[in-house]
């Protein structure tokens, strides 16, 4: 299938398949919030001005989320600082990020409660669903998909699910029913989807499908009004919620149709050339990071997940403390941190309404194994950069009795403006992490 057709149907699929809007899952979301969503559905994209702007409310500067997992662990001895707080000494890996030291927070003593199973845990990094190694395991919704439900409708792509991997079909993103969302593995194809215009007939097909949906909703709304007339007053009040939902869905479909007509953002960069050799995972990661930055800059999406697969060095990660293997592994991991540093600094150097793009973008970077050598899934090396938090510290939690990483996810959701106090096993925001 042509990449553009896939983009078109992906938009449609994302629009209808990914839940657009506010989560029904959390009982703590008050009603006023989900009704308020109606006004947001027509919000204009941030970086493009559109003719009928007139009385449309000027939307706030958007916030974004990028969640990254590298699946074969990070050597803890070169990552975790010895002391907690603000004045910790930079460790070899963190030293690579020294230029953005005050823009990230490093965590220790955190993990997902109940998530075990060594490598099986890699699919639970953003979901926190326990016991992925057990028969009958069913994953839950991932952090990025939950965020996309709320903020996804502002952008052409509600979310981007990416992977830097070879053969394996890993992904960080899972739907409500636990189904994995296939990841885009080619940075070239991603570029095409984001910035290369679709063919006229493909756009026409998507628009036609959207129009049919809307006309269907129109008909259904008529039927509801007919039914409404036969109901008691109490029942009419109840059915009103249905009518409201029909209207809201129509508006969302209308917005999606508008996206189809809008030309894609123009960028001066050229499409990257994919690298085939899986051993070059650092270079492949850099390519992905470049396109991700473009996606953020052009507000093509505000929710991105990236799975970095380093299975090629799996054998190295079982170093057994052999010095020469450790040295080799360290060199490779340092390469990964250099790529991350490049990404963070490029975001930091880009300005947006008086702040840096990094200040508006949360970047979560971590791994599912605290020690790949022993397959332990506790004490996960994790850091959070940017997004609008008070950074520059090492938040150390109990290494014997880990603090739930999902609490950090609650903080991240709240930072995006989503009113919730729970996510998966998380029951509140992360202690010690303040929003600014």
């Amino acid at each position: 299938m042509q990449p553009i057709t896939r983009a078109a149907s992906l938009t449609l699929a994302c629009g209808l398949g990914t839940i657009l809007g506010l989560s029904m899952h959390s009982a703590s979301i008050p009603r006023r919030t989900f009704l308020r969503g109606t006004g947001v559905a027509l919000a204009l994209p941030w970086l493009e001005s559109l003719a009928p702007a007139q009385n449309a409310p000027r939307p706030a500067v958007p916030r974004r989320m990028v969640a990254i997992e590298t699946n074969m662990g990070i050597l803890p001895q070169f990552f975790f600082p010895a002391t907690a707080g603000r004045n910790y000494a930079l460790t070899p890996y963190l030293n690579i990020l020294s230029r953005v030291r005050d823009k990230f927070t490093v965590f220790s003593g955190v993990s997902h409660p109940g998530v075990t199973g060594a490598h099986a845990a890699e699919k639970c990094f953003l979901t926190g669903t326990p016991h992925p190694e057990r028969g009958g395991f069913r994953n839950g919704i991932s952090l990025d998909q939950l965020a996309a439900e709320s903020v996804g409708n502002h952008t052409r792509f509600p979310s981007l699910t990416l992977a830097m991997s070879g053969e394996n079909n890993q992904t960080l993103s899972f739907t409500r029913s636990g189904a994995p969302i296939p990841a885009e593995r080619s940075s070239n194809r991603l570029f095409q989807r984001l910035f290369v215009q679709g063919r006229q007939d493909e756009i026409a097909a998507v628009v036609e499908a959207l129009r049919q949906q809307r006309s269907l909703l129109d008909f259904v709304a008529d039927q509801s009004r007919r039914l409404n007339r036969t109901l008691s007053r109490a029942d009419q009040l109840r059915l009103d919620q249905y009518l409201t939902s029909v209207r809201e869905l129509e508006q969302r479909l209308a917005a999606m149709e508008q996206w189809e007509h809008r030309p894609r953002p123009r960028v001066t960069a050229t499409a990257p050339q994919d690298i085939d050799d899986n051993r070059e995972f650092v270079r492949k990661t850099r390519l992905m990071f470049d396109v991700v930055k473009l996606a953020l800059e052009t507000d093509s999406s505000r929710v991105i997940s990236l799975f970095i697969d380093t299975t090629v060095i799996h054998n190295l990660t079982h170093h057994g403390n052999r010095p020469e293997v450790l040295a080799d592994l360290r060199a490779k991991e340092e390469g990964q941190f250099e790529a991350l540093d490049g990404f963070l600094r490029s975001l930091n150097d880009t300005q947006e309404a008086g702040q840096s793009l990094l200040d508006r973008t949360m970047v979560l970077y971590g791994t599912c194994m605290g020690s790949a050598n022993s397959h332990a899934n506790t004490n996960l090396p994790t850091l959070l950069a940017g997004g609008g938090f008070r950074h520059g510290q090492h938040l150390a939690f109990d290494q014997q009795n880990n603090y739930p990483l999902t609490n950090l996810f609650v903080s991240m959701l709240q930072r995006l403006g989503i009113e919730t106090n729970e996510f998966s096993s998380g029951r509140g925001t992360m202690r010690g992490l303040e929003m600014v």
Binding site: G21, H131, F137, N169, Q223, S224, A234, D235, L239, L249
Partner: protein, 869 residues
Amino acid sequence: MSQPANIYPIAVAILTALACVVPARAQTPFFEKHCHACHDTSSKRGGLDLTALKLDASNAEQFAHLLKIHDRIESGEMPPKNKPRPTAEEKSSSLKTLHDVLVKAESAKLANDGRTRLRRLTRVEYENTMRDLFDMPGLLLQGELPADGSAHGFDNNSDALDISHVNLAKYLKAADHTLTMAIATQPKPPSVTKQRISLANPHGFVAHVLLHGDGVLLKNKQPDPEFPPAGEHMHIDQGAHERMGAFRNGSSVGLFRHEDESFHPYFIEFVTIYPGNYRIRTSLWSFQWDKGKVLLARGTEAARLSIVQLTGDGRGGGHPSTVLGYYDAPSLNEKVHDITTWLNKNEIVGFNAASLAPGANTRGKNRAMGFVGPGIACDYLDIEGPLHDVWPPRAHQILFGDLPLVEFKAKAGTPKRKLVRQEMGAGKNRPDPSLGLWTVHSDQPLIDADRLLGKFLPRAFRRPVTPEIRKQYVAKVEERLKAGECFELAMRWVYRAALLSPDFLYHIEPTEKIDDHALACRLSYFFWRTMPDEKLMHLAALGKLRDGVVLRGEVERLLADGKSQRFVEDFLGQWLKLRSIAATDPDRKLYPEFNMYLQDSTVAETRAYFRELLDKNLDASYLVKSDFALLNERLAVHYGIEGVSGSQIRRVSLPAGSPRGAFLTQASILRITANGTTTSPVPRGAFVLDRLLGQPPEPPPPNIPAIEPDVRGAKTIREQLAKHRDNPSCASCHAKIDPPGFALEAFDVIGGFRTRYRSIGAGDPAPRGKIDPFIGIQFKLGPKVDASGTLPDGREFLAINDYQNLIAADRERLLKNLAGQFAIYGAARNLTFSDRAPIATIVANTNKQGGGIRTLIHELTQSALFQTR
């Protein structure tokens, strides 16, 4: 006004006499006499000042307040035991006054709000309805829908069922998915694949572990001479073995290894391409392996078959999984199991040697040749399907009748249609070559549309549909045809619209005394969680459903049908909270004998037991005490009951004195009411009070500061709670909550009986008991369990059996609660104050006929409570 002094006492006497005769004004004297001493402005015991009480229940808070007062007086709890009792007339007259005030306020509110309010289908109801509407029993839709809420314990209550554009978008997608599966676009059914697969299929996990000796190949129940068991050496290179056909010579696979995080036995050679019904057959047996010798097994083992969904392109594994069941593997005696099940695209069959202990050690120096232990052998898996007895399939015929299929030819002006190519799955089975795109053809489209919709809409909307409405749908078909679409797509448009309309998504119950069609729906959703079938609809159309005999007959028919299992699962899942069976994790060190086989068996036990109570019409005492249990071998071993062999659940008479059998002491309930590590009498007691006895305890009062009891010196949870109970403000509730919890302390987190607590660290060595010899025991025996207690009325009990006897005697209360639960579930609404009398009547009528649970259901369905909104 001056009165002669000697008239005053007479006046008082007259007034008092009047007070007895005129109840409406007797209220204040009752409170003055019996309540004001403690509940006045100065003392305000319990925060209650009755001197300021107004008999006005017009808002919810006041209503709840008056209700509480009413109930406390009724139960005799107030005035407290040590105060003078009110006379019977005093009590009944004050209760009547309160009753009238409450009923009046409630009627006014209900006239406005309605009792059963308009509600949409729950997720379960939606999926079942779609499955039955299209006759596609395995259609998977629930997982994609947002979770429903819960109100009054159940999800089918209007308050629990909000709707948003999220739901609608999902319903759109679900309708599309269903229509795509239902509509045939090929002239012939897919050819039936018949495949025989070995558990050691190529590139599979099992073939890999066979090299290491976690299993062996067997021929004629002896080690396969062409594949020696791994010993000092292991086999090298899985690929070479596959190329040499080592796993393809018809040998059976004997496994010693239970599934774990690195090992998932799948029958991966068949990956479903065409959704439909499939016949599966497997042959299983068990054996004892002794360093190369195949001997008689320790007993019948059990294997688990499940349906596993492969991801995306079919390569990655294992999400999500449905258990097909557990199947016996008798000792050295193969048993053939036949199963028919629906498979969706990309699903495969998974396997697990479920009754073996996880982590059995076959990786010693001599691998399999050094291993002594049990194994489960699988001779083959035969799979055949998809099975279509008609073509186009019934789902298609429901939409298009017997209109012919012709090859699709795009005419000028019609939108082109893309042929959906059947992709190759990851298995050895291959898709049929495509015969082009076929579509249903009509010579008189509008007439056919009218006819087809005339059949479909009433079924989908579960009631007759007026011609005006049908014409609106047909008009849309005409519109689509004029836009150039082919007949199939035009019809698809209106079918989708029908499935999205509120007529389909909502339970429509037009009048207060619901009409026959709504009654048919209430019955079918109560007992089958789905739309009414043809017979019910027919009876409703004839107006016969309200006839007592006919109605009774229908209830019997619905309960006897296999679909009533949905009622058992859905009702118990919520009433006894079985849905949260997996919410906690038993600690691996404390409860090493826990496994999924046990978990699945405990759920099956509860369901089978409920089914037995229904079928044998047993009375409510069986909720808490029984002389029989529904068990399989795994449960029997867990409960210490002898003489049960095999994986299937069956009725077993319990030895005298066994506390097992009833819900109260079933492992599922005991698990749900504990966390993974410890038990606590408080959640268990609260569960018994709330779910079984119908007396939910109050939450702790918010404005009383949390008292930090001194728990230093306390050793067991019981001792800690004793300190809590010493505080009178806590005691009033804990006197009720604790006793059942104490009695149930006799059972641990996974429902096993104990006389001593398990502990990690300090304690005496623990005997193995019936725990599998391969499971390492790290826990020790800690303090003794004290399961004695005192009921609020003063009666004492020493152990769980005594407690059971005491509350089993309270059949009335148990039956009344169950009646309430059935009513809430069946009528899809909360019970109001005015429902108390009808419920009491239903219970009384049931008791007159022996007090059985099936009788209760009949009494309920015959009552006005069930038949009105």
